[in-house]
């Protein structure tokens, strides 16, 4: 185990690796993996945003994929109308990233405000279920949007959004753009949880009643972090739509919210870095476990790699107290 004191150095090293990754992949002739790496980076943004809720505030949201959907559909719908050349409630479509991205984030934040305002009336397991319900309602809302492909979703025929001075349709540029988003968001979250507001959040997780009795309104703080986390997931959703150039309700399905929860718990809640590690491990296992099983001669299991992944998850829960982060790092206390 490594002491947490070395964390800043290791994170700098990690950023360096992520920066050099596409160059290494290109050099080794496996540039197709850049797309996998991009997916990983985008998923990590969503996982980090969920950790703000689960890990720091103790709010287990089972509907976080709803905000991925809002972000993605904002991008998709604007791109759709730009392609068709018509208008959406009188507004023209656009592919300009300077409009699309802030709008996607703002709309996700707005939806999070509405969902949070109602959901935060409940606690514990009831909160898990009410967020799940809102997620499902958005899922079925997107399914019923026949104009935008309904069940099947829609392609972005004009390609990715445009930014001045950066061609996002280029694989490398898009990876670096997503990585920049992840680093910025991660840095923001680190600052946020270390701030006074962050202390309030952690106090809510530990003992909400005590916090109220010293006169701090926990509801407002919870609502604010719910909106921030929703905005983060909205950003991830917008990036994800651009990555696959495809938007569909599947992004909002409850299993997607489940996946997000799984990577956060797997990585170690309340650490921010943990969910990033969890994303890396989970997506890499998904990508490479079949290959690994195949190469050690377990061909039957290679097709059914989930049969192996399941017990791995169970073992991690039973034997690693706080996920992968807990396995790697020794707490300073």
């Amino acid at each position: 185990m490594i002491s947490e004191r070395h964390l800043p150095k290791l994170m700098a090293l990690g950023v360096l690796v992520l920066l050099l990754l596409p160059l290494m992949l290109n050099a080794s002739g496996s540039s197709y993996l850049i797309s996998t790496a991009t997916r990983l980076v985008i998923f990590a943004i969503a996982a980090v945003s969920l950790d703000l809720l689960i890990g720091y505030t103790g709010l287990v949201s089972f509907g976080h994929a709803a905000f991925l959907g809002v972000g993605a559909y904002t991008v998709g719908i604007l791109s759709f109308h730009a392609y068709e050349g018509d208008t959406f409630f009188g507004l023209p479509g656009t592919l300009s990233g300077l409009i699309v991205l802030p709008l996607a984030v703002a709309l996700s934040a707005l939806v999070a405000l509405a969902i949070g305002a109602l959901s935060l009336r409940t606690k514990g397991v009831y909160f898990i279920m009410i967020t799940l319900s809102f997620g499902q309602m958005l899922f079925f809302l997107f399914v019923s949007l026949e104009k935008y492909g309904g069940d099947d979703g829609m392609m972005m025929f004009d390609g990715r959004i445009t930014l001045p001075g950066l061609d996002l349709n280029d694989r490398m540029s898009f990876y670096y753009f997503c990585l920049a988003c992840l680093i910025a968001f991660f840095w923001f979250c680190r600052r946020l949880v270390a701030s006074k507001f962050g202390r309030t959040l952690q106090a809510i997780r530990q003992n909400e009643a005590r916090l109220s009795s010293i006169g701090i309104r926990s509801y407002t703080a919870k609502l604010l972090i719910f909106v921030i986390a929703g905005a983060g997931a909205g950003l991830a959703g917008a990036l994800s739509a651009n990555h696959t150039e495809f938007v569909s309700p599947a992004l909002t399905h409850w299993t997607r919210s489940g996946d997000l929860m799984i990577v956060v718990i797997l990585g170690g809640i309340g650490t921010l870095l943990g969910p990033v590690l969890g994303t890396i491990v989970f997506l890499l296992l998904e990508e490479f476990l079949p290959l690994i099983l195949h190469s050690v001669g377990l061909d039957l299991l290679s097709e059914h790699w989930r049969f192996v992944l399941g017990p791995i998850l169970i073992l991690i829960v039973l034997f690693a107290k706080s996920g992968i982060y807990g396995l790697l790092f020794r707490s300073r206390e």
């Binding site: 514990g124 009831y126 009410i130 799940l132 499902q136 079925f140 718990i265 049969f307 992944l309 829960v317």
Partner: protein, 308 residues
């Protein structure tokens, strides 16, 4: 028209009874053992596969129905001892992750054993066909049998929970485990018993679903989400709540699917009406749950004094 309304209403009750069979175990495990078991849906699937296999091999639905109970109980026993027991004292989140891993394992294992083609179960001769109710309405006998078995299970549970000593211990344990344990009740034994009984109800529901739907991998998960909705609407740990929640969800869902398109069609043009109706009817139970939780944040029949 009245035949249709009547039939859909009974279909709603039938779906509700079905949901109740699965939810009853889930709410007890959740309320009493304080365990979130995502793999409860897998027990439902195990019940369905065992009846498909056993009745396929023996040619008798009834042998399959009877034998699926010990099979599900055995599976549940292994799960309880190996995985659930170490999780008692752990956080809900750990339970979610571990039982999610269990779903992957069971689903993929089933795919390896049984392949991806759905299995079918023949309806028993004695229960096929329809009956005429109140002299006017005709209704499939098999669905009526599901409603009846739901009522029987509800009655048995009601008797055990309210009239017996074990039931009293369960009720007390749902409110406060530690105190009941301190009073000398063997909580571990009760835990295992409750888990097995809940699993057998889920297995029974799976077996009875066999002739109505195709038996396939993943059939448990979507049902599981619906059952969580039922027990949350009713209030976690409450059997009465689970029954009420399950019937409400069953009726709202079935009626919404059958009648929303024509109701909306009266106001909107047919094309958009069908799209919106499909979306709205799928949403309806979630909307119901949101409304219930916003008004009553711990469900309709909260267990008094339960620390959640």
């Amino acid at each position: 028209m009245s035949q249709l309304v009547f039939e859909q209403f009974l279909n709603g009750i039938q779906l509700g009874m079905f949901l109740f069979l699965v939810s009853a175990g889930l709410t007890l495990v959740f309320g009493f053992m304080n365990i979130i078991n995502l793999a409860h849906g897998s027990l439902f699937m195990i019940g369905a596969y065992s009846i498909a296999l056993i009745s396929g091999a023996t040619g008798s639905f009834w042998i399959g129905l009877i034998l699926c109970l010990p099979v599900t109980a055995l599976a549940a026993f292994i799960i309880e001892v190996l995985i659930i027991r170490p999780l008692y004292t752990r956080d809900h989140l750990d339970q979610v992750l571990a039982t999610f891993g269990l779903i992957l394992f069971i689903n993929e294992g089933t795919t390896m054993l049984m392949g991806r083609t759905p299995q079918f179960v023949d309806m028993p001769e004695a229960l096929s066909g329809s009956v005429t109710l109140f002299g006017v309405f005709s209704y499939p006998l098999y669905r009526l049998a599901i409603i009846a078995s739901g009522i029987i299970v509800a009655a048995i549970l009601w008797f055990i929970i309210t009239k017996t000593r074990v039931g009293m211990q369960i009720r007390a344990g749902t409110t406060n485990r530690e105190i009941v344990q301190q009073l000398g009740v063997n909580i571990d034994g009760l835990n295992t018993a409750i888990f097995l009984v809940g699993a057998m109800f889920a297995g029974l529901a799976g077996a009875m679903a066999g002739p109505l739907t195709s038996v396939e991998v993943g059939m448990g998960e979507n049902l599981l989400i619906l059952c969580f909705v039922c027990i949350v609407i009713g209030g976690i740990g409450s059997i009465r709540g689970a029954l009420f929640g399950a019937l409400t969800v069953g009726i709202v869902d079935t009626m919404g699917r059958s009648f929303l398109p024509s109701i909306l069609g009266a106001f909107l043009d047919p094309a958009s009406a069908s799209g919106i109706a499909a979306g709205l009817s799928s949403m309806s139970i979630y909307l119901l749950m949101v409304i219930v939780l916003v008004l009553k944040p711990t469900g309709l029949f909260p267990v008094a004094g339960r620390i959640s």
